[in-house]
Symmetry: none
Subunit: 275 residues, 2 copies
């Protein structure tokens, strides 16, 4: 038995032609609201023609469009009247292999932030928003993308932000550029990489302030780090999860942006005028 139209769609989306699949995806993306609008609006949002929408609902087993809409409304009524069903994901008895993953991730984030004080974050933000020094970012095998992600944002709102990528020998040589006023943001989770540890140690000796993103068992780099962010990584998977660290990174990016705006940084105003 199929309980919701959403399930019905995901059951049959594989067997649908391209146009109808676009209709299905548009419906799922903002479920179920476009389904309540007119065929014309639905077709416009999905980028197909009206008949395709009608064929789509016909394929789902409905006699006509109004019948389809009524079903959607009934579904919505049930949902709105029992808020419990919202929090508890469609129970999907037996399956839902990803749900435990999601739950664990959400828990990880809550735990991660619970152990982070506002003071600590504020200090890091202040340091990152301090435009007198340079900012370098680097990560390990799996976490380097996080460093890139953060660098991509920070580099826009302020100058002198550099992601250290490529071969080890390349970024090792960049140590020459680093001094007391600079910040090095390092991402390092298990298994901790020796090359990164050595790099951090040298940087530390040069007086560079290190901000470390690591897991709850703390990379050895924590010994040299000025600020340590310990994210929870445990999930029911063969891999560790970096999602919590990712969210902290995003929170920092947002906070630094706000800080620079508050500082009235000329660059921010220029950026806005460019857009």
């Amino acid at each position: 038995m199929v309980s919701s139209i959403a399930e019905l769609i995901s059951d049959r989306i594989g067997t649908m032609p391209a146009g109808e699949r676009r209709a299905a995806q548009a419906l799922i993306a903002s479920y179920p609201l476009i389904g309540l609008k007119t065929v014309a609006e639905f077709s416009a949002t999905a980028g197909v023609s009206s008949p395709t929408i009608l064929r789509f609902v016909a394929r789902l087993g409905f006699q006509n469009y109004p019948e389809f809409q009524s079903t959607l409304q009934d579904e919505l009524a049930a949902q709105l009247q029992s808020p419990a069903s919202r929090t508890l994901n469609p129970p999907s008895p037996g399956s839902s292999a990803v749900s435990p993953m999601l739950e664990a991730t959400l828990d990880n984030m809550r735990e991660t932030f619970r152990h982070l004080s506002d003071k600590q974050l504020a200090d890091i933000v202040a340091k990152l928003a301090d435009r007198r020094g340079k900012t370098f970012l680097i990560g390990g095998r799996f976490t380097d993308p996080l460093a890139r992600y953060m660098a991509a944002h920070l580099a826009i709102i302020q100058p002198n932000v550099f992601h250290l990528g490529g071969q080890e020998s390349v970024w090792r040589d960049r140590l020459i550029d680093m001094g007391k006023r600079d910040v090095l943001v390092i991402f390092d989770i298990r298994r901790y990489q020796d090359s990164l540890v050595r790099f951090a140690e040298t940087a530390n000796q040069r007086g560079v302030q290190i901000v470390l993103f690591t897991d709850q068992w703390l990379s050895p780099i924590a010994r040299f780090a000025r600020h340590v962010i310990a994210g929870r990584t445990a999930v029911p998977s063969a891999w560790d999860s970096s999602a919590a660290l990712f969210v902290v990174a995003e929170a920092l990016i947002g906070a630094v942006t706000r800080q620079l705006e508050a500082d009235g940084a000329k660059r921010i105003r220029e950026l806005e005028s460019l857009r």
Copy 2:
């Protein structure tokens, strides 16, 4: 300022004639669902005539019935998309500056997964774990790190996984390598990049199956995509959040790994012995 139609009604219900008051009560009783149905149905449920309904919505300040319905739908959309506003956020003791960011992110993830069916994910996993074809990953300005992150993991558990980076001209030429059996995983959120759209279009013409990670407004690439994952990106920040997409990516990585283990892939056993 009146935020919802429900408030508007309770403000004015005192000044309404009997018939319209019955209409108002009927609407409030199962808010806002009858308002989305036709005037005829509305009038029948309320026990009044159609014109009375129209006079009722006119009194609320709407020019016509469709305008009234649109407003109701917008209201509903806002409600459904930010469950936070429904639960009336607990002030979160201490009221930290990053807490709203965290809350929004958690909501985004729950919402994103609520719109994702197990079936849909299972299809994608099956395709990604299919070792007959190659897997290419690419992302936009801010999302390319996500592509890298996913590629870093997938490349370990199976051969023929390629991240497309560097200059546009470089990865454009890689189109030659792509064929019907291959998968292209694209990350593209606002503002959608023309270069990526063109790339996706060409790849699609070559028969490549496209898995798209995008935001809830759907990149134009959705037109060519076989599978679309629409993540929520709204957070109280100057930037959009990719955290929800990141978590989906991690979930997929985990699921693909499990799938390959189940398939008894020789490579996995070899890997384990190497560790």
